[in-house]
């Protein structure tokens, strides 16, 4: 799910930037350091929308000359929840199941959470093919899944998802 949050961050700025463009530099540095990153607490920072406040810079007492600025900014974050239903694109398939991606989130669907009618077919690369041969799951397939478990790393959120439920399954592909 996506949220709009107001967060704080302390940025160290090199003295060469202490000039008329200081605000611009801080903004750029903030975006470079936060967008696309992931925290276990808030999930992925998708976009910084607004810099709300830049605190007074404090010169660091370590002879480096850098100054620290407390920045308050608004951003959009993506944080998965258990039970959330997501549309995702399959990125790789193996005999344990398949990996899919929903925006920044990586999902894994194990073989046990794929409907039983799907069987692994490795004759042309790996893919899970339904018994009637009508649907297949291969890289590029779009699937709708429900998150059943989440693992938080300092730099990554990893989800376990299920496709074995009503209203979940293959919904299309990149190729059609």
């Amino acid at each position: 799910m996506f949220y709009y949050l107001t967060l704080h961050k302390s940025l160290d700025i090199h003295p060469k930037h202490f000039g008329p463009k200081l605000r611009e530099v801080i903004r750029e540095k903030l975006i470079a350091e936060t967008e696309g990153t992931c925290t276990g607490k808030y999930g992925y920072v998708v976009a910084v929308t607004k810099v709300e406040d830049i605190g007074r810079g404090r010169i660091r007492q370590d002879q480096s000359g850098y100054a620290s600025f407390e920045v308050t900014y608004g951003c959009i974050v993506c944080r998965p929840y258990k039970g959330e239903v997501l549309d995702a694109v399959v990125t790789s398939v193996n005999k344990m199941g398949f990996f899919a991606q929903a925006g920044p989130l990586q999902l894994f669907v194990t073989q046990h959470l794929i409907p039983e009618e799907f069987e692994l077919d490795s004759s042309t690369g790996n893919s899970w093919v339904s018994v009637d041969q009508a649907t297949s799951i291969q890289p590029g397939t779009h699937v709708r899944v429900r998150i059943v478990g989440i693992k938080y790393d300092p730099t990554e959120v990893f989800c376990i998802a299920s496709m074995k439920e009503d209203y979940l399954g293959v919904i299309g592909s990149d190729f059609s």
Binding site: V85, T110, L113, S122, V148, Y152, I160
Partner: protein, 476 residues
């Protein structure tokens, strides 16, 4: 779900998962609280649907499996969880940088599934090495001034031939590499794709492996997985454990035996492919690489073509039906089939199986592999061997194999004088071997009898040429 303490609840889940609750048969044993623990928000609707008290509702199933999935999903946490990691397999080649840890039970289940699936589809597993097996790569910086123009010329020629993706010489600019695919590699891969599930296993890094895979398999359809050095469980050896498949169904094609310490019997060792001179120098000081010689391996008779034939034969033998000498399909071991196939290479050289030996015996001769006092004739394809000298010294007749065959055709014993072996042996080459015989004759080194309507002499020439024993045998 309490967003503030995801770590804690996850650890609990992991710990629970590692208590060994694998397999759906244990669902009933799951305590009821687990339900409430994990149930929240989005799942309520289903929980109602599955409110039958059978204890086997789909919801419970889901939780169980989710935990199992956690268990597969690793990191340091699993060590913290403490139990159940002994023998777990870490798989790093499946997806990007993600690492999957599979518990021993689950690994075993996947192995069994794989075996069943492969046997049903009549396929085996083939693991292919890249460098020196399917191709040869060198850094652009290593190509010396001498080789550069040859490469440019070769590249221009391939461009002209309009081979498209089937070109053999590639310059990977981003990786600063010249890569030369071994001739016949496309035929090899296409020819085996139906009988083998193919995997790449290289000591190169991940990016290199991916790049090369693109060259070999532009459609992305041939290889089931690509395992690079970064994925391997050890740094100096290759091991089949990362494939989660059965060793008894897997064959390995590699140029280096040393990297497969545990799987010598699965290995087909292939002659190293040295195309670039600078690459050859790394291995040994002398000799010239194929580029310097201005030639290349033959796509239809080269090392890859040979191995394709062997692999096909092994596959056919493995899945051959109703052969009483083989165990039932489920118990067959491709390593035994391979060993059996390999054992046949020299086995056929038993002189008793040779057509000439059989011909001689058919004519009433008694054949021996070495000279004895009772020997009357020595049949030799080439002179200069010890046996020939010995026979001459003892005054025995030394004749060419043509004599034997001519006797057979004419239904009479022809004068040996017309078929005496020349001093240096016909063709003068190293010869296919000579043999002594007791009584009229013996032969080995002869090969297949031509069934065409040729004059005896012509036919004999063909026969001898085929046998490779030194051509132009007869001079009747």
């Amino acid at each position: 779900m309490e967003a503030d303490s995801p770590e804690r609840s996850l650890d609990e889940d992991l710990a629970a998962a590692f208590e060994g609750e694998f397999g759906s048969d244990e669902e009933q044993a799951a305590p009821e609280e687990r339900f409430e623990d994990g149930g929240e928000g989005g799942k309520e609707g289903d929980a109602e649907g599955g409110s039958d008290s059978s204890g086997n509702s789909s919801d419970l199933d889901l939780d169980e499996v989710a935990e199992e999935a956690y268990a597969e999903y690793e990191a340091a946490k699993e060590e913290a969880a403490g139990s159940g990691t002994g023998g777990a397999v870490r798989l790093k080649h499946l997806h990007g940088n993600a690492e999957v840890v599979v518990s021993p039970q689950e690994a075993e289940r996947i192995r069994r599934d794989t075996v069943t699936r492969l046997l049903n589809k009549k396929r085996l597993i083939l693991i292919l090495d890249l460098d020196h097996t399917l191709l040869n790569s060198v850094h652009t910086g290593e190509v010396d001034a001498d080789a550069a123009p040859r490469l440019a010329e070769l590249q221009a020629r391939e461009q002209e031939a309009n081979l498209g993706p089937r070109r053999l010489l590639h310059c990977l600019v981003d990786k600063k590499l010249w890569t030369k695919l071994r001739p016949g590699v496309f035929e090899f891969l296409e020819g085996l794709r139906d009988s083998y599930e193919m995997h790449i296993y290289t000591m190169g890094d991940k990016a290199y492996a991916a790049e090369v895979r693109r060259l070999l398999d532009p459609g992305g359809r041939l290889f089931t997985s690509v395992i690079a050095k970064d994925h391997s469980t050890t740094t100096t050896a290759k091991h089949l454990d990362v494939l989660l498949s059965a060793d008894e169904l897997a064959l390995v094609l590699d140029d280096t035996e040393l990297v497969w310490p545990g799987h010598k019997r699965n290995l087909l060792q292939i002659e190293r492919y040295h195309f670039f001179p600078s690459d050859l120098r790394k291995w040994r000081a002398d000799g010239t690489a194929l580029l310097e010689q201005g030639r290349d391996e033959d796509p239809t008779e080269g090392a890859l073509a040979t191995h394709m034939r062997v692999l096909r034969a092994v596959h056919a033998r493995f899945f051959s039906k109703e052969d009483p000498s083989l165990p039932p399909l489920e118990q067959r071991d491709v390593r035994d089939v391979l060993a059996e196939h390999r054992a046949r290479i020299l086995q056929d050289r038993d002189p008793r199986q040779e057509p000439l030996w059989q011909l001689a015996e058919g004519l009433g001769a008694r054949c021996l592999p070495s000279i004895s006092p009772a020997t009357t004739h020595v049949v030799a394809a080439a002179g200069g061997t010890e046996k020939v000298h010995q026979a001459r010294a003892q005054g025995k007749a030394v004749v060419t194999p043509a004599w034997l065959q001519a006797c057979g055709f004419r239904w009479q014993r022809l004068p040996e004088a017309d078929f005496l072996l020349g001093d240096l042996g016909p063709g003068g080459s190293r010869g296919g071997g000579s043999s002594a015989a007791k009584a009229p004759a013996d032969a080995n080194g002869g090969g297949g009898s031509g069934g065409k309507q040729l004059s005896p002499e012509e036919e004999l020439r063909v026969v001898m040429a085929v046998a490779g024993g030194g051509g132009g045998a007869a001079d009747g």
